[in-house]
Amino acid sequence: MKKALSLVLAAAMAFSFAACGGSTSTAGTSAAGSSGTASTGAASAGTSTGSASGAAIKIGGIGPLTGGAAIYGNAVMNGAKLAVEEINAQGGLQFELNFQDDENDSEKALNAYNTLKDWGMQVLLGTVTTQPCLTIAPETASDNIFLLTPSASATEVIQEDNAFQVCFTDPNQGVASADYIADNGLATKIAIIYDSSDAYSSGIREKFVEEAAAKGLEIVADEAFTSDNKTDFSVQVQKAKSSGAELVFLPIYYSEANLIIQEMNRQGCTAQVFGCDGLDGLLTIDGADTSLFEGVMLLTPFAADAQDEKTQNFVAKYQEQFGDIPNQFAADAYDGVYAILAACEQAGVTADMDASTICDMLKGAMPQITLDGLTGDGMKWEATGEVNKAPRAVKIVNGAYSAM
């Protein structure tokens, strides 16, 4: 019977290779991915308009849509989708978006990248998470495809000159946080709780520690956790508490921060909480008791309840389509698509150019553009790929952000 099975499997393999080899550019073209939430038939407009007119610039996206990091990938996909829809509705340059899942895994990201190349991707918006991006960025450099990552924040990501970031780099945030705490005299004794298995978190923490020493801040507790062990924070919080820290620095994402803050409350730890852009999203966690987050401070470029028209528009549309309040990832992606648009217009890119030409033109155009986006006014890019925008320090007061 094993023979029969291997026969069947061999046939399946032959079939799959044939299908794979034959359909180089047709397979998965319309795979712009619908959202996992209760969007009512919100088929991505990017796909439909793009393929209809036939003259759209093909933007590929890569990020985790399934698995433990799915929240970030889905946010980026939805944010980008919204921007593409708006841009296409305006007329002018048309975009087509194809977003592929990488499960937050480098190997799958590479497969996704190759799939997108088969589709005819001209510009890459991604990857969402840092680890896969470290694998993909060198690939794009050797293929000469323009890369703009909304949220992969390690400096290694933008080593090559074709790679740009929408988010802050990790060292920037670490330094800015330490400076802010020291300059405003928030505290002198500081405890850090960070995710040592995450590039974002350990990157910020490393620079924070350096800068804190330079600014005369004392690190009284420096506790790590790992992605396999991120539900029980009793030890880390207790160490922070017994070290007499006046402020707990959390360079992590909001779902873990929620647990840490609840644990602090449980143990009666009254230190202030200070975080980076990863904490944005705390207030929108489904079912969370937001009264616990009173007084939490964070440096974030985006706030979903900001009063400016642009943000309110974005939030309203996002909620209508995807049923959730957008977080900073969605905003970064939205800005990323507009940055690509601005650079394309600046350089005069049209849809019939090949990826390599577009890459060369966009490389030159990126440092020239200025973008008023959701995550900052007057955003500018260095030729190195780093973004210049001012981090805003906000404090949670009465369940909403207020400027500090």
Partner: protein, 293 residues
Amino acid sequence: MEFLSYLINGISLGSVYAIIALGYTMVYGIAKMLNFAHGDVIMVGSYIVFIAVNQMGLPPLVAIVLSMAVCTVLGIVIERFAYKPLRGASSLAVLITAIGVSYLLQNLALLIWGADPKSFTSVVGIPPLHLAGGQLVISGETIVTIVVGAIIMAGLIFFVNNTKMGRAMLAVSEDKGAAQLMGINVNSTIAMTFAIGSALAAVAGVLLCSAYPTLQPTTGAMPGIKAFTAAVFGGIGSIPGAFVGGILLGIIEIMSKAYISTQLADAIVFAVLIIVLLVRPTGLMGKKISEKV
């Protein structure tokens, strides 16, 4: 005082592991299969309670009963369609199928409830216990988890040893063929085991998420592996072993976090497990396997 505080934290974590491990060991002991999907049934149970309490506004107790009912049905359905066809096949085949079921549940949850983490509101209404002038805090969740865990353990021991169905389960676990000859319906006995195991998973899910209030489609995966480790630690198949193994595992984990390294805590936990198994190859309370020649 610090040490005592860590100890309490350890027991608190351990009691959650213990309650998950009880479900694991129950299914393993009788059906002789590693149900890797157990952690994901826990996740489903937690989502049901979350939806029932936060969106439908049901009282927590009703929500828990509802969740137990859903999980019981889910457990029976999984057993009927995924595991039962493989009865008589190699145990590895069932293991792989269980992994398939685990992927299935996680991805279904992702599609239905989305990837955003939900903040679970504790269903435990008991205020924390303050000892030694407020220096030691024992949370209500810890107390409830330990008490519920002990009740479940006692209940399971009583059920298995003193009821007709329980004894049928024991017989099936000893020798399926002989049990069948004695007039025991093996299929329904195993289905019953899954029903009980899954109902326990619902309870475990509620307590897990009350103690560590975050809920994602992958919430069940790591606690599931840890609890499985705990069950092996205590001697898989042994009901008191699972309880003791869970508590010990929690204490070891917290102590190695507190005194050695928060980063390497998992490595230390697994190292202790290996050492224990080398000294006692069938776990702390496992039955010795006698070999037939």
